[in-house]
Structure formats: structure tokens, C-alpha cells
């Protein structure tokens, strides 16, 4: 009983995150190398993530001058733990849900916000100016898309009449939310970019700050942070696939496989955006977030509410 109820879910979540992080690393570098028209054989080498792992582990892990050691060490672990928490509420099939919380959606919201705290801590605790700047910039911008995330998620909970993710999946049996609320997924993807500070919303570790919060990480400590960030991408993809693409629902194939396929699709979209869209300037993003995204998410919510009443 304990095996099935406690160990199996933990095992599944951790394995998914770690394997998923490897897949993200592979896809990220492979698509980047293809975009740069590098040699095909080398850029598609399936062992490349292992080589990078080896490189990270054989480098020294540098410490900045007088950092806040506890938080510096803790932040990557916490970021990973948050990813695990977020993934835990995702249902894999009708009867396998690692943590079937009644308020799964609210928990995901909490994960998003706590991630902001953890990312800030990571940059702040290094006691160096570039990571600090990255952290501040991230927080001051991050708070502006959190609201969008809340409204979009409430919109998804409306047709399900529940905050439980298994109910949200059930509510998509006839029509997926991506069709029912056409604005939801694009808005949610933007939130995902912000949550993982990826691509156009990479404010925490942008190129102009010399990689911001990662600027003073090296070796193993950088590896752990990267792992956590990739894990968060994976968790987000699973969540997006669950709330907008019908989760494990689908014909012919078993449920979990459908879920993985849909999550991979979301992941590929995110990676594509990362390589092809320029990093926004903070100033422009603030205006876009408040003037465009927030009203759009209102419209999305009203749309969802009207449909639910009708």
C-alpha cells in the first residue's frame, strides 16, 4: 500500500523531471545547433547532454566573495522542489495522480509565485552585482504576469466547476480548452516563459547582464541550477498540456503516453520561441504586460464565464 501510494508517485515525478531535464537540454542544444547550421551529425548526437554533464562535473564550483551560503545552496534545490510540487498535481490517467489535491490549481499558482521568490534568492545571495540586477529585474517584472496566470487558470477552472486538475481534464472530454478558450494557451505560454525566464522573457539571465543570476555560477552549482530550470520547463509543459490540451485524454494510445506527447509539443513551442524571439526590453514588457496581456486575460475570463453560463 505504501509502495503504491507514496513511493510510486514520488518516483514517477522525480524520474520525469530528471529525464525530462535531459531531454530539454538535448532539444535545446540540438535546435540551437540546427538554427546555426552546424554539422548535423554532431548537433543531433544523443549523448551530448552526457558530455555537458561531464564537463560541468569536472569543473570547479566557484564561490563569490562572502555570499549568503545557505540561500545560495538552497535556492536551486528549492526551485527543483517547486517544479516537483507542480508536477505532482498533474494527473497521468484516470486513476494515477501523484497528489490529487482538491485545490491543485491554487497550488500551481503558489508554485509560480514561490518560484519568483526562489529565483530572487538565487541572484541576491551571490553578493555580486550582475546576479543581483538580474534578480531585481526578474522580480519587478515577474509580478506583472502573475495576475495573467491567475485569470487564465480561473478561466480553465470554470467549465470544470472545480479547482481539481482531474476534474479539469474530465471537463475537456468533449472539447479541449485550447479550442474552448482560444486565448488561454497563448497567454499561459507567456506565463511559462516568465516562470522559467526563458527566451523573450529571459530577464533574470539575459545576455546584456552576462547571464545575470547565472553569471557567477560555475561547475556543479551551475549544473544544479540548470537542472532545476529545465525541470521547471518540464513541469510547466505538463501543466499546460493538462489544462489546455486535454491531459491524458486521447484515443488509441494509453493515457500517460498522450500526456507525454502533448507536453513535448508544448516544450517544443517554448524552445522555438527561445531561439527565435529577441529578449524583450524590460520597459516594453511592462507596458505590454499591463496594457495588453492583463486586459486580454480579463477578456479570456469573461469569455470562459459566459460560455460556462451558456
Amino acid at each position: 500500500m505504501i509502495l503504491n501510494e507514496l513511493l510510486l508517485p514520488i518516483f514517477v515525478v522525480l524520474i520525469t523531471l530528471i529525464l525530462g531535464a535531459g531531454v530539454v537540454d538535448y532539444l535545446h542544444h540540438a535546435t540551437s545547433a540546427l538554427g546555426k547550421q552546424m554539422s548535423l551529425r554532431r548537433s543531433l548526437n544523443p549523448l551530448a547532454p552526457l558530455y555537458r554533464l561531464g564537463l560541468a562535473l569536472s569543473q570547479q564550483s566557484v564561490i563569490t566573495e562572502h555570499p549568503d551560503r545557505l540561500n545560495l545552496r538552497l535556492a536551486p534545490a528549492l526551485y527543483f522542489a517547486l517544479a516537483a510540487l507542480g508536477l505532482a498535481v498533474v494527473p497521468w490517467s484516470a486513476d494515477f495522480i501523484p497528489a490529487d489535491l482538491v485545490t491543485g490549481m491554487v497550488l500551481w499558482g503558489a508554485v509560480e509565485v514561490l518560484a519568483t521568490v526562489v529565483i530572487f534568492l538565487c541572484g541576491w545571495s551571490a553578493n555580486a552585482h550582475l546576479p543581483l540586477l538580474g534578480a531585481y529585474r526578474y522580480v519587478s517584472l515577474g509580478l506583472s504576469y502573475m495576475l495573467v496566470s491567475m485569470f487564465v487558470l480561473i478561466g480553465v477552472a470554470l467549465p470544470a466547476e472545480s479547482l481539481q486538475l482531474s476534474a479539469v481534464v474530465e471537463s475537456q472530454r468533449e472539447i479541449w480548452n485550447v479550442l474552448r478558450q482560444p486565448m488561454g494557451l497563448p497567454l499561459f505560454l507567456i506565463v511559462g516563459l516568465g516562470l522559467t525566464f526563458w527566451g523573450p522573457l529571459d530577464f533574470a539571465s539575459s545576455p546584456d547582464l552576462d547571464r545575470g543570476i547565472s553569471a557567477d555560477q560555475s561547475g556543479a552549482s551551475r549544473l544544479v541550477w540548470q537542472l532545476a530550470r529545465y525541470a521547471m520547463l518540464v513541469a510547466f509543459s505538463f501543466m499546460a498540456a493538462t489544462v489546455f490540451l486535454g491531459g491524458w485524454l486521447g484515443p488509441w494510445l494509453p493515457g500517460p503516453l498522450w500526456l507525454v506527447l502533448k507536453a513535448t509539443l508544448v516544450l517544443l513551442i517554448l524552445l522555438w520561441m527561445g531561439h527565435n524571439l529577441p529578449v524583450m526590453t524590460p520597459d516594453k514588457f511592462i507596458s505590454v504586460a499591463w496594457v495588453l496581456l492583463l486586459p486580454l486575460s480579463f477578456v479570456d475570463l469573461i469569455w470562459a464565464g459566459a460560455l460556462a453560463l451558456w
Partner: protein, 212 residues
């Protein structure tokens, strides 16, 4: 079996909540202080989950995370000791405060121990989230909505209070920084100091020219 684990979790969370709540006022760094407070809130949130208040527990997580994040940002913007690099101690009347705090704790604990409360636990088949939702949008809608109106009023008030231009012009017109010591000369901003230095330099140069 389940009961033991619940108890262990409860005592752990209670210890964390109180300990980190106390550490809030014992750390040099404002950022650390606000995150310690966050930990205290998170621990209370877990206790609420244990008490089957599922919605409240999880809502507390994200409410407090946002709040503490904003707090940390503000701290660093204003406070003289942003990163907690310099030890500092900014307290007044610590002993009176500690005594009062302890007295309140003792009083409330005595009430808790000796007071008589009805043992009337929530029914096992209660769906707390659903019942909360029905209450919020049913009988107590007025209360709930007035909380919403109050928040709206807060938003407007906040913007008015903190904006640069008040109703009668710039909000900081004619203001002067406080003294470093009580009654002492005001602390100057770096810009003012720079200006002062430059003026001094010019004066000296003038003097030199004069001498020559």
C-alpha cells in the same frame, strides 16, 4: 498510523512557524527577515492543510509569497542595509516589548489551557472548498464583496499616496532630510555632496588663480 504522521508534521510546522517568526526580528538583513516571515506563513499554511482547510492553506502560500516578495523589494529600495552585509541593530525599548510580548503569550496560553471550548470538530464528509465557495457567493456575498471594494479603494489610495505629484504639486517640495543625530545637520544625498565638492574645488581653484 496516519494520526502519528499528522502529529509529527504538526509539531514540526509549529516549531518552524514560531522559530522563524522569532528569527525575523533577529536577523541583520531585511530580505532575510521577509523571507523568514514567509517561512512562518508557509508553515501555518501547512497546518491549515492538516486541519482540512485546503483552500485557505494553499491560498495562503501564494498570497504570502507575493506579499513577502513585494516587501523584500521595498526593503532593498529603501533600507540602508540592503543585502544584510553590515550587522545592525535597530530596536527601541526591547525589554518592554519582550515583556509585553511574553505577557500576551502567557495570557493567551492560559486561556487556551484553562478555557472551555466546545469539542465540535468539522464533520468528516464536509467539502471545505465547496462550502467556502457557497458561503462566499451566497449568504456572505455582501461581506466578500465589501472586502473587494475595500481592496479597490486601497489600490486607488496607494497610487494617490505614493505618486510623485500630489494634488498641490510635487509631494516632496520643500522637504529636508532628517538629521543624522537628533537635532544634527541633515544627511545629504550623494548628488548634493558631489555638488558641494565641486563648489569647493572651484573655490580653491579661484583662490589659487588669485594667489598667482
Amino acid at each position: 498510523m496516519v494520526g502519528i504522521w499528522t502529529d509529527i508534521t504538526f509539531y514540526l510546522c509549529a516549531a518552524i512557524a514560531v522559530f522563524s517568526g522569532w528569527r525575523v526580528f533577529r536577523t541583520d538583513s531585511m530580505v532575510r527577515a521577509s523571507f523568514l516571515l514567509l517561512i512562518s506563513f508557509l508553515a501555518v499554511g501547512v497546518i491549515m492543510l492538516l486541519l482540512a482547510a485546503v483552500y485557505l492553506g494553499t491560498a495562503l502560500f501564494f498570497m504570502m509569497a507575493v506579499e513577502m516578495m513585494v516587501m523584500a523589494l521595498f526593503m532593498v529600495m529603501f533600507m540602508m542595509n540592503p543585502a544584510g552585509l553590515n550587522p545592525m541593530n535597530m530596536v527601541h525599548q526591547p525589554w518592554v516589548a519582550a515583556l509585553l510580548g511574553f505577557a500576551v503569550f502567557t495570557g493567551l496560553s492560559l486561556v487556551a489551557v484553562y478555557g472551555e471550548f466546545p469539542a465540535n470538530p468539522a464533520p468528516a464528509d464536509l467539502d471545505p472548498v465547496r462550502s467556502l465557495g457557497r458561503e462566499l457567493l451566497g449568504d456572505s456575498m455582501l461581506v466578500f464583496e465589501s472586502a473587494g471594494i475595500a481592496l479597490l479603494a486601497t489600490m486607488i489610495g496607494t497610487v494617490v499616496l505614493s505618486s510623485h505629484r500630489g494634488r498641490y504639486g510635487p509631494a516632496n517640495e520643500g522637504s529636508e532630510p532628517p538629521g543624522l543625530d537628533p537635532g544634527g545637520p541633515p544627511a545629504k544625498s550623494a548628488a548634493q555632496k558631489q555638488q558641494q565638492r565641486e563648489e569647493q574645488k572651484e573655490q580653491e581653484e579661484d583662490k589659487q588663480d588669485h594667489d598667482q
